[in-house]
């Protein structure tokens, strides 16, 4: 059976596409080194349009209004520039409401685009530009640690990673959130209290990476101004050992935290990237692999989640679970030398 690979890697190659949904101006070049705050591409992502009724404004019919137009499509205007007129005893005119550009003119109307500040798409991670996507953005590649999660609150940041304790097994409590964490991306095993999320916002931390949290905190977590990423699931369990090790070992290093919302169809996972310089060239991680004996796996459902173990045996034929469902099972040896019999569907491969 083929399984999805859970991306938790201490050192791997990472390749990400950073693009805008509309055409813009790409500001980087191939092989350029970028930092997370560097702007990749700019574009007027949120234009504002005004449909101006020139005929009504001049109090004439549409064909007469067209004769009185002083501007053509494509002309740049500043606030107050005359678009049409003058006409009549009082020299009535229609003026540009703000700085902008005439997009369409005719039939007594003008469609005017008000100038808006360009949206700047940042690199969001350290790396090297390896490819330019014309008018849209670029491909950035780096090497380093990668930790993907299963839930994010849609926000991104970049900063220093700071574990809140020596291990990431425990619950994060309000008392731990001291001023020393101000501006840091903090990590903890799990959190179960809304007060913790609020207190973290008051410190303020720059971001929060948790192994798990109960699902009833989702609405509050979405409202928080700082990015929150959940690595393992919705429960109250310590962070998986592979992610914990990476985050502890990289204490005080910079992490690019992209807590984007999960979209498995598009392949968008919330993730943290810690770039590392090295002369070695690891392969890009595989996305799916076959579950077989010797493979390292992470448990994704049930009381034993998110423990990591190794497949000892794939049991032949379908077996009946305590739920009554028949499915293929594997015997998995866990870190504590104990073994568990689990459905293949409840395992994901982990190549940390």
């Amino acid at each position: 059976m083929i399984s999805k690979v859970k991306h938790i890697h201490a050192f791997t190659s990472i390749k990400r596409e950073r693009v805008l949904p509309i055409a813009g101006h790409v500001l980087v070049r191939r092989m350029q080194k970028v930092s997370p705050s560097d702007v990749i591409v700019v574009a007027p992502l949120i234009s504002k349009f005004v449909l101006m009724d020139i005929a009504q404004g001049l109090n004439v019919n549409p064909s007469r209004a067209d004769e009185l137009l002083q501007r053509q499509a494509g002309e740049d205007l500043v606030e107050g520039d005359v678009i049409a007129g003058p006409v009549g005893m009082f020299k009535r005119v229609v003026r540009a409401p703000q700085e902008g550009i005439v997009r369409i003119a005719g039939e007594g109307k003008v469609l005017f685009e008000i100038s808006s500040p360009d949206y700047e798409l940042q690199a969001g991670m350290e790396g090297t530009i390896t490819n330019i996507i014309p008018e849209r953005g670029a491909i950035i590649e780096t090497k380093g640690a990668l930790i993907q999660g299963i839930w994010g609150n849609g926000k991104t940041t970049y900063g220093v990673v700071q574990p809140t304790s020596n291990d990431l097994l425990k619950e994060l409590v309000v008392e731990q959130l001291n001023i020393g964490f101000r501006g840091a991306i903090i990590t903890a095993g799990f959190c179960k209290s809304p007060e913790v999320l609020e207190a973290a916002g008051i410190v303020p931390v720059k971001g929060l990476i948790l192994g798990s949290m109960p699902a009833n905190l989702i609405p509050l977590a979405k409202k928080m101004d700082y990015p929150i990423m959940i690595i393992d699931g919705f429960r109250e369990t310590p962070m998986n050992k592979a992610a914990e090790k990476i985050l502890i070992e990289n204490k005080d290093k910079n992490i690019a935290l992209n807590a984007q919302e999960l979209d498995t169809f598009q392949g968008n996972f919330p993730e943290g990237i810690i770039s590392q310089s090295s002369t070695s060239e690891p392969d890009l991680p595989s996305e799916a692999e076959t579950l077989k004996v010797g493979k390292k796996v992470i448990i994704i459902n049930g009381q034993q989640a998110p423990q990591i173990g190794e497949i000892e045996k794939i049991i032949s034929g379908k077996q009946v679970l305590p739920s009554g469902i028949e499915t293929r099972l594997a015997e998995v040896t866990l870190a504590n030398e104990k073994s568990a019999i689990l459905p293949l569907t409840n395992l994901e491969i982990i190549n940390d």
Binding site: S47, L111, G233, G302, L321, S323, I325
Partner: protein, 585 residues
């Protein structure tokens, strides 16, 4: 070789689902079409593959292994048509449901009329309505242009005006839509479906066809009060395919293999239900429900008139969090016969939505999934019933008499006990009168729907080959009484002349012990003016029935089911119902 579908012998129907791609193989056995085997593999439409053909190929490889018939060639892909030495397949059809819902903006004259038509149309496919434009929304033309250029929908549905009716007001909305489309890059321009006043069709074509991907269908409401949705439904299905084609690689190959016999799973599901309604009792409707990982489909048809509703993000896998978000935890919990904390239930549902392929390990997890399935179907039924051409009960909130009701979806077919799919359908749909609950145990319905237009013979013969599992004949009397009051007397006459009589009390759920496949004659005598669909309240009658897996189920719990404000009372009642049904397993 003649490859017209009617002349074809072997057919493969591929269904590209949100998690699994299935390839169904049909062939002629002893002169009749039969379902032979199914191969399945994970769907590869999305990341990281973005190519549906990988999943199709793997499912066909499995099918090849099961049937021993060569279906694939490294050089040519799928071997079409079949060869005289039984290699390949004569015809291939495909259905698809995977992918994020298409984003839709509806536009029309009035919120209560035109927009309602547009909503009904959008809900016949996998779509999310992200905004609406109407005359009474008080938006200026500029507001509309800004809305459309910012939200960049995949599709704009324009309705409004009866034929020969209003045109001027609709033109002002059309102007905003045209200008916004012009302002977007060509690749980002939305599909536009105009299904309003037919007098405007030429004007719409001349104004919008050059600056948008325009389709025009017959007016969805040609005269006030009459909805004509099917022509527009065909167009929206074509648009769905075009949007998907842009998002997933490999669909061109699928078009080529299927020679265009490719449709959305929902459209195919609706089509087969419509087809069945023309075949079964014309005075009753046929109902189909498909509950998938991400979405739920409800299709009802009365003598060829189809009502189709698709509910994206309402399912038992990735769509399970949508069941909480569209309802509430309490509405899910009310179906559970065991006691679990709110946190355990909520956490399990959200974990399931991010790991949709994971399986429930124990009875507690399974009961959560069954409760999610019941509430997803309940939500779909309550939303759809007002749009059916017939309803029952005060305010038209009850499902009309249907025969049969067919359930489809892995939660139903993989349920370890046979009473579990019956319980999901019975509680979720709450059928009325006398009906049969059947299970599409091999997930054939979308495939049969895709084939039905071109080869109705295959659809008929496969359906007649006992492909559906009869879960049970259901008798659900309608009316109100005090719990414990006798409301129905049932006499069961067996074919061997033996008979027995049962008095049914209001509030009960009971089973008449009739063997699977046993034919019996039922004499139903409702008391206290209860209605069992024999022509009105209190009317008696005879009906022939066939025993299902659970015999004959008499559901006298009332319609709609009433729940206590005390969760513990609901739990105990669910436990009693579960024991009743499981006893006859």
């Amino acid at each position: 070789m003649d490859t017209t579908i009617v002349a074809a012998k072997s057919v493969i129907a591929v269904d590209i689902g949100s998690t699994i791609t299935r390839s169904l193989f049909f062939d002629v056995v002893s002169g009749k079409y039969r379902f032979i085997a199914v191969g399945s593999a994970p769907t590869t439409a999305g990341a990281p593959h973005f190519d549906v053909t990988d999943g199709i190929w793997r499912s066909l490889e499995e099918l090849q292994y099961i049937t021993g018939r060569a279906l694939l060639s490294e050089k040519d892909g799928v071997i079409i048509p079949g060869t005289p030495d039984n290699q390949g397949v004569d015809i291939m059809v495909a259905t698809m449901s995977v992918g994020n819902p298409i984003s839709v903006v509806t536009a029309g004259l009035l919120d209560t009329v035109s927009l309602q038509n547009a909503r009904n149309l959008a809900h016949t496919t996998y779509a999310n309505i992200i905004d609406e434009i109407s005359l009474n929304d008080h938006r200026t033309s500029s507001d509309r242009i800004n809305l459309l250029t910012r939200k960049r929908p995949d599709l704009i549905i324009i309705t409004g005006g009866t034929n020969n009716g209003a045109s001027h007001s609709l033109l002002s909305i059309l102007e905003s839509i045209g200008l916004s489309s012009y302002l977007l890059n060509e690749s980002q321009r939305p599909h536009i479906l105009f299904t309003g006043n037919e007098q405007l069709q030429e004007e719409v074509k001349s104004g919008l066809s050059k600056i948008s991907k325009l389709r025009v269908a017959a007016n969805i409401q040609p005269v006030l009060g009459k909805e004509n949705i099917q022509p527009a439904q065909k167009e929206i299905n074509e648009i769905y395919k075009e949007v998907r084609n842009k998002q997933s690689g490999g669909l061109r190959e699928v078009f080529s293999w299927t020679e265009g016999t490719f449709t959305s799973t929902a459209a195919a599901f609706g089509r087969v239900i419509r087809f069945l309604s023309e075949k079964y009792e014309p005075e009753k409707g046929v109902l189909g429900v498909d509950i998938g990982s991400d979405s739920t489909i409800l299709a009802a048809a009365f003598n060829g008139e189809e009502t189709l509703r698709v509910f994206p993000n309402l399912g038992v896998g990735s769509g399970s969090s949508g069941v909480i978000e569209k309802n509430s935890l309490e509405l899910i919990k009310r179906w559970m016969p065991i006691e679990l904390s709110d946190q355990e239930i909520r956490d399990y549902i959200y974990n399931k939505s991010v790991n949709p392929c994971s399986l429930p390990l124990d009875v507690e997890q399974l009961e959560i999934e069954l409760a999610v399935a019941k509430q997803a179907i309940r939500y779909a039924a309550e939303t759809t019933i007002p749009n059916l051409p017939k309803q029952l009960g005060a305010g038209g909130t009850l499902l009309p008499f249907m025969e049969p009701i067919i359930g489809s979806g892995r939660i139903l077919t993989l349920a370890p006990k046979r009473y579990q799919p019956l319980s999901i359908l019975l509680d979720g749909l709450q059928p009325t009168g006398v009906t049969t609950l059947a299970l599409d145990q091999n997930g054939l319905l979308p495939g049969l729907g895709a084939v039905s237009e071109a080869n109705p013979l295959l659809t008929v013969q496969v359906i007649e080959s006992s492909t559906f599992l009869n879960l049970g004949t259901i008798i659900a009397p309608l009316g109100v009484a005090r719990p414990g009051t006798t409301i129905l007397r049932v006499r069961v006459n067996r074919e061997d002349g033996r008979s027995f009589t049962r008095d049914i009390k209001y509030g009960s759920l009971s089973i008449l012990p009739v063997e699977l496949g046993e034919k019996v004659s039922l004499h139903l005598r409702p008391l206290n003016r209860f209605d069992v669909g024999m022509g009105g309240p209190g009317k008696s009658g005879k009906v022939n029935a066939v025993g299902g897996v659970l015999g004959i189920v008499i559901d006298a719990r009332g319609r709609p089911l009433q729940f206590s404000l005390d969760p513990e009372k609901n739990r105990k009642r669910n436990e009693t119902w579960r024991k009743t049904l499981s006893k006859y397993e």
